[in-house]
Amino acid sequence: MDSTAAERLVRLLSTHQETLYRYVFALLPNEQDAKDVVQETCVALYRKLAEYDPERPFLPWAFRFAHLEVLKFLQNKKRTNIQRSKLRKSMTIRSKNSLCPSHEHGFSRRALLQGAVAGGTLFGGFGRLFANDNAALARGNDKRVILVFMSGGPSQFETWDPKPGQPTGGPHIAIPTSLPGVHFDEFMPNLSRLANRMITVRSMTSKVGDHDQGRYVAQTAYNPSTLVAPAPHWLSVCAHEKPAVADGVPSYVMLGKDNFGSLHVPGAGFLGARHQALHCPGDGAGPQDLPVPSPVAIEDFERREELRRSFSDTFAEGRPRRLVESHDGAFAQIGGLLRAGDLFDISQEPEKDFQRYGDSNLGRDCILARRLVERGVPFVRVQHQSGLAWDKHRRAFQSQRWITSEFDTAVGALIDDLIDRGLWSSTLLVLMGEFGRTPDIQGQGQPGRNHWTKCWSLSFGGCGLQEGLVVGATNQNGTDLQDRPVTIHDLFCTFYKTLDIDPHKDLEFENRPIPLVENKLGQPIEEVF
């Protein structure tokens, strides 16, 4: 073993040690045991480092060792005391000193102590450690949603429903998750680790295989051609039903570029602009053109807004209310934003979070999403890259890994933080795209997968739902559903029920009742409650 290889391991471990620890802890929820296994894993990694291919991501590789070490540990524990050789001991001490930065250790130890004090629940133990005052504010709004939308249609084979070894499986391998017997894609180490906190649906089935229409259905619960009224985005419905409690704080914020070519995100539909998302351009930035809030800015705005409003009011007489209100509402919102101060300023978030979430637009948007829900914004939609990033028709296996890793890093850190900050039990996190991808790997030379609606996957969790559940299954090679089909309508019934909104409630538009879910279709997935 040459010294540069050892150095490389030191670097990799110091970057990933916390994640590795969390992975082991997920499988083995006991502080001391988990620490022991991490040490054993470090030794194993050190020995096998020559086999590591630096082209591939480190964590999935490391997790395989960790997984084996956990199994070994459990077997040993059954039989007798654990024996350790002197060599191993000295090795682990060395690795401990040099590999693990003190603040990381401080973190996990404090976290676990807190857990022990809190009563040693399996996982809640991590909680509250970093909870700050804002979390209390957020709790005033009893339930929150963060939707991370994977535009373009993520492949179920390369995310939550891998089929390694099958002709449909593709070149990726599958890694074990914290749920026994359940495997995810190798580029999702964090989501694999957190599988026991989430619900994974492997039996989504839908009908529309066109991007624009598909994402319309997947975000409104309405098929575009059956409309009697322009359907609102489901988060606009949420904003309508459960608006933000805090004054001036928007009810629904959308992070990331909202359109790409002819594709777009459904707006507030017939609910009108008041329930529309406030757009932020992405990469962790707040709304464009919002000035630095100050008393002078507020005063200037209010003076001219009063005059503007008076002109608008004269015009509004006898004219369609919805349109004029929509226009005026947009200006009224500025006042709220000026008063909301540094709501969007992620530069106030700790430096090390930016590393944990990954150096990506999505990472910074997830930090902003966290900041927003902590400060009372109940509904946040995060766009993962603009437009069609997950739409891998061609060259899928050259580029899939990057987008999946970026997604996994950011979303994994977000889940960790929601748990740590005590928001998990009241925040519904939804990870989905508009459809899945074909089992056939198509195309010549540089293959990919096309659109597929028959059976696909997504994941959601938090908000007091069951944890560590896999709903439904596809057959052996992923070409068809095997168990428990879930429709888009079922999915929305589930989301609304989670948020204590009656999924079959009617809203009103032009004196007609419009149900939240098209034709009152669908049933909540009962097993998740």
Partner: protein, 558 residues
Amino acid sequence: MCRRQAVATVRLWYVLFGAAIFALATVTNAAHPVSTIVDDEITAALQARKINPAPRAGAAELLRRIYLDVLGRIPTASETADYLDDSHPDKHHRLIDQLLAHEEMPAYWRTVFDEWLNGGLLERDFGRDGFLDYLQDALQSNKPWNRLARELLVPDLRDEQQRRAAYFLAVRLRGSDNEAKIDSMTSGVAGAFFGVQLQCAKCHDHPFVEQWKQDHYYGLGAFLGRTQEARLGNTPVIKERADGEVKFVTTEQEEKTAKLLFLDDRVFDEPEPPEDRDQWYTKVAGGLPERPYFSRREVLADYALNADSRFFKRAMVNRMWKQIMGRGLVEPVDQMHEANPASHPQLLDRLADDFAANGFDLRRLMAGILHSETYLRSSRWDGGGDRPRDSDYATAILKPLTPDQLAMSIGMATGHYDSLRAKFEREKKNRKIAEVTPAIARAFYWRERDVQEFANRFRSSGDGFNANAGQALFLSYNSLMEKQLRPAQENLVDRLRQQSENALAVKEAFETVLSRRPTAEELERSVAFLAAASPPRTQLCQELVWALVCSGEFRFNH
């Protein structure tokens, strides 16, 4: 027969019970047969629903509406004064005819057509200027729609003017993905010429529209699939291969070769190719692309772009109606199929037949709609009870200014447009033009980067009006807007701050921005606003202009 009888009965019915408003309409519009069709059908439908339509809009309202609809901008302060001081009772009809013949009209409508034809496309710079010029020339000469459409689909490359039209298909052939190119051409042609969207029928038979099968999608694709991009000098053009099939896989996993099938189920046969491959193509002089022995696109153009083609004539009538009236007779405009009937099916058919029978005359169609009493109604509803639905056309529909109209109109109101026109004047030599005509100034202004960026902030691909805080923030704080409110070169804010008489300043602001005079109450309120001790007067003048430009009245074409 039956339908005619029905129409006759309806006519008789309202001749007997006819409203006074209609009587007025027939007197003033006797000259325009299209307006008669419009008012005929709309009034019959209103009476069937027992709705009394709103009265005709006031002079200032009509002035602004006609300018926005025909020239895509608000009137200038002097155009406003001229019109408001004109006492002729028919002045709005005269204004409509005058503006339809205005030289800015083609300069504006070319952007409307470009948006209809190519709205959702990305990366379309190469060849776009030539294409816009082509559209402008076509509108200037009032080229019939069937000829224009034919030139878009099968441009005669020997004609240098027509060559620029090839952009319509050429722009859809960029990129490397063959399937995506065919998709882009198919949806472009289906939407622009036939008012249908078939994307759903691509992967499987359309889930909601029985009419559309996969065969239709790929059938239309088969007419276009042999088209390839070429280049002549600086113009992107197209050429056609003599072989190549469009293939697709059905939901039953059966592979099919697409037939030459049009939307109405008509199938075309293709002659056997010559045995001698050398005869597959004919050389064309002047370095133009070779011609195949058989052109599939020509078959489509011959069959589908003429007066017998129901899809073709209805699609343009519906789009034009929507552009001017604010709502399509069929909505959405690219969903014209059996499962989605028109709000006034007879009106659509009659207008379409008239359009086809009169040589697809675009300007005649525009004029007919504009001169109708239906178009001239007030957008205000004081009729008691709920406001009728937009699809009743009992009132004028509020139309949000399009992004281009908004950017242009704000520029006109603040004086930004004038300052740039002065700049174009100074740059005449560099820009190689003899004279900055109104049409040229419009085209230059529209092309300015700042103006494009301004307009882009208001573009959304979705239909319908969705004001958002982002746009309000832009109008309140972005430098592209703040710049226009900074006093400079006799612009509006500069003139206002130099006007010591507040009442005159307020009047000027209203006439310039809202194209009308302030009411007594507005005058009083605005004068009081300007009279405040702080902030400084310049800032107060800026805020007054901002408040007018950002009012609901300015944001909508009403």
